[in-house]
């Protein structure tokens, strides 16, 4: 069980996402896979330097047992950015799908070149 740490889980997530990006031709699946990679990286950063039994860094309590607050503050920003970029890419995808009627990277480019 000692291998199931947050760090390892996040790396596994990252590579699952990478696999999806490399082999899936569906645009939706690509966007989902990139998001899995993104969250893998975010989970990695949140749990970096985590000490067991530490308490959340809220309020002025026991400073010695407090978890490292910096990654948590930064990752909120990273999550927000991830969501907004995903929103933008999904928006573009919807217009693309309406225009070309396919969700496949290769089909899209083939249809554009044929026209």
């Amino acid at each position: 069980m000692q291998y199931v740490t947050a760090q390892n889980v996040s790396l596994v997530l990252f590579f699952i996402g990478l696999y999806g990006v490399l082999v899936k031709r569906n645009i939706i699946k690509t966007i989902v896979s990139v998001n899995i990679m993104d969250f893998g990286a975010i989970l990695f950063l949140i749990t970096v330097n985590y000490v067991p039994d530490s308490i959340p860094p809220i309020g002025a309590t026991d400073f010695d047992r407090m978890a490292d607050p910096l990654p948590q503050a930064l990752m909120i920003t990273a999550i927000v950015i991830g969501i907004s970029v995903t929103a933008v890419s999904l928006t573009i995808f919807i217009s693309l799908f309406r225009k070309h009627g396919t969700a496949d990277w290769e089909n899209v480019i083939n249809r554009i070149q044929k026209r």
């Binding site: 990139v34 990679m37 893998g40 990695f44 950063l45 554009i112 070149q113």
Partner: protein
């Protein structure tokens, strides 16, 4: 003293506040903003040159916690360049139809973000700004809605999001090992690590993501579809090619600085840069769309810049830094004039654009000046920076390769200069090119709709002409004043003598003749090269190449250390 965050926030703040004013007011407000910004960045630049680097922490936090802004000589050079380039482009676009509030707002956002990246003092800050810039760019390149716009935009967004996850994971590994994200503190703590080679994984992650931004060899496939996008207004292409790629080069320098002395990857990146330069001009030679030719020429020039940076010599290093400025200037000029020329001709197919000089004499002159700049014509800025890179390599076998790259650049622009041929040759050519025009009727159709949209506004032509001419003259001026400028910009004395120009002229003429002969004698006739034009990597292949590049870099570091 001007606070550094004003450089980043002033344009963004004014663009947001003024957003709801009418268009005519907004336009002038933005130009005033640009003038103020250019003056401010010049003032900060002078201060940094005389008093050394400035460091500022936001929000009153101490170093290591607060967001740091660092203005050192390297950063301020690029800030100065970008703020003046944006001013020039705003003036150039003065009367353009597409200059509505949304466009200008996004354009200014891009400026703020770019300057923020140059001034950023910590890794996470860089990550945030790069993502923000990507959002602005993705909308800007789809601005004139074209049939391929959505594909180009989506490819750009998803690919960059993919690349930046590598960057974020790299940041995570760096934080785990060092406990800080501030670049200065990081480099101090790296020195104290007992075994810094353990950082090879984050190093490879960060540099692969940056390689995507800088568009080096296997990672450049996104660039032409973004920079040469049919739907991108020419000013956007100019900024992307002139500045945005340099962000990648700048980040490359920052990360290399951080890891200097731990990983010796100069040799690796020199080879990659050389291949980038060669592949860039080869593909540029086969394309017909003038904007795509320019976009691939950017790939080749980035290769040249990276070659100089990784040559391991001071002279080549400063030559490359100077070439960053020069390339921004002439490539921006080429892109904006290409927009005008395509508009006049009603097509973007290079085999059909003829007789530019009588129709638009001012833009033809400006294009000529820019071509002389990029090919390294005597007395022009390109010749000085290329000469510096070359003298940094003097006596080594790599010098010959530099001549090859230069020959390639000249061939590309010999091809580009076809647009100056007189009109009646076009008729003779049309027989041969008839097949081509049949195969790709798209550029014509696109620019026809474009010309409907761009109705004339008084003062438009005048602003465009004067800015284009000014930029052309700047190309020449930067070459003539290279010695004092190098001292002013980089604090580096230039070893230039009178014989230098004569020498350069002879070499340039020899290369030019070879280039013309090779292009019209050989390359022009190789029909099989046209296959390269249809060649297009799919998204999955690009990602596979990206991962392959990462694995290659990681393996190289493991073997070398």
């Amino acid at each position: 003293m001007i606070p550094l965050h004003l450089l980043v926030l002033l344009p963004v703040f004014l663009a947001t506040v003024g957003y709801f004013t009418p268009r005519a007011v907004y336009k002038h407000l933005m130009i005033v903003t640009q003038i103020v910004h250019a003056a401010m960045s010049t003032a900060v630049f002078i201060q940094v040159r005389s008093g050394g680097a400035i460091r500022q922490y936001m929000g009153g936090w101490r170093g290591g916690i607060g967001i740091a802004l660092v203005a050192d000589a390297l950063a301020m050079n690029l800030v100065l360049l970008s703020s003046w380039l944006f001013l020039l482009l705003f003036l150039f676009n003065y009367g353009k139809q597409y200059m509505d509030n949304i466009f200008q707002f996004l354009f200014i956002m891009l400026q703020g973000v770019t300057i923020g990246i140059f001034l950023a003092g910590d890794l996470f800050h860089i990550y945030v700004l790069v993502e923000l810039g990507m959002l602005a760019i993705s909308i800007l390149i789809m601005y004139k809605r074209d049939k391929q716009a959505l594909y180009d935009g989506l490819l750009y967004v998803v690919l960059n999001l993919f690349g930046m996850t590598f960057f974020l994971l790299g940041v995570g590994f760096m934080y785990r090992s060092l406990g800080v994200l501030d670049l200065t503190l990081m480099s101090q703590r790296i020195g104290r690590l007992s075994d810094p080679t353990g950082l090879s994984l984050p190093y490879a992650l960060l540099l692969t993501a940056i390689g995507l931004k800088a568009a080096i060899l296997p990672l450049f496939s996104w660039l032409p579809s973004a920079h040469g996008a049919l739907s991108a207004p020419s000013a956007v292409s100019a900024v992307l090619s002139g500045l945005q790629v340099k962000v990648g080069v700048f980040l490359f320098l920052r990360i290399q600085q951080l890891f200097s002395g731990i990983f010796q990857t100069e040799g690796f990146f020199f080879v990659v840069a050389l291949l980038t330069a060669i592949v860039g001009f080869t593909i540029a030679l086969v394309h017909r769309d003038i904007k795509l030719i320019l976009a691939f020429s950017t790939v080749s020039q980035i290769g040249l810049i990276m070659m100089g940076l990784n040559a391991g010599s001071d002279l080549a290093y400063y030559g490359s830094l100077f070439h960053i400025t020069n390339h921004a200037l002439f490539k921006a000029l080429l892109f904006v004039t290409a927009g005008v020329i395509a508009h006049h001709a009603g097509t973007r197919d290079i085999t059909r654009i003829r007789g530019v000089a009588p129709r638009a004499p001012v833009f033809a002159l400006a294009t000529l000046l820019a071509i002389l700049g990029i090919t390294g014509g005597p007395f022009f800025n390109g010749s000085v920076s290329k000469y510096l890179i070359q003298s940094g390599l003097a006596g080594r076998p790599e010098e010959a390769l530099l001549y090859l790259v230069n020959l390639g650049t000249i061939m590309v622009f010999v091809k580009y200069a076809q647009i100056f041929l007189p009109q009646r040759l076009a008729a003779a050519d049309a027989g041969g090119a008839g097949n081509a025009t049949g195969a790709s009727p798209s550029p014509t159709a696109e620019s026809a709709t474009e010309s409907d949209k761009t109705a004339l506004i008084p003062g438009r032509e005048f602003a465009m002409k004067s800015v284009a001419l000014l930029m052309g003259v700047l190309c020449l001026a930067l070459g003539l004043l290279a010695a004092p400028l190098m001292e002013l910009l980089f604090g580096h004395r230039l070893p230039v003598s009178g014989a230098f120009y004569l020498d350069k002229t002879l070499i340039f003429l020899a290369t030019l003749v070879t280039g013309i002969a090779l292009y019209y004698g050989v390359v022009h006739r190789l029909s099989f090269l046209a296959v390269l034009r249809e060649f297009r990597l799919t998204f999955n292949t690009i990602c596979l190449l990206f991962t392959g590049f990462f694995a290659l870099l990681l393996g190289y570091i493991y073997l070398m250390t």
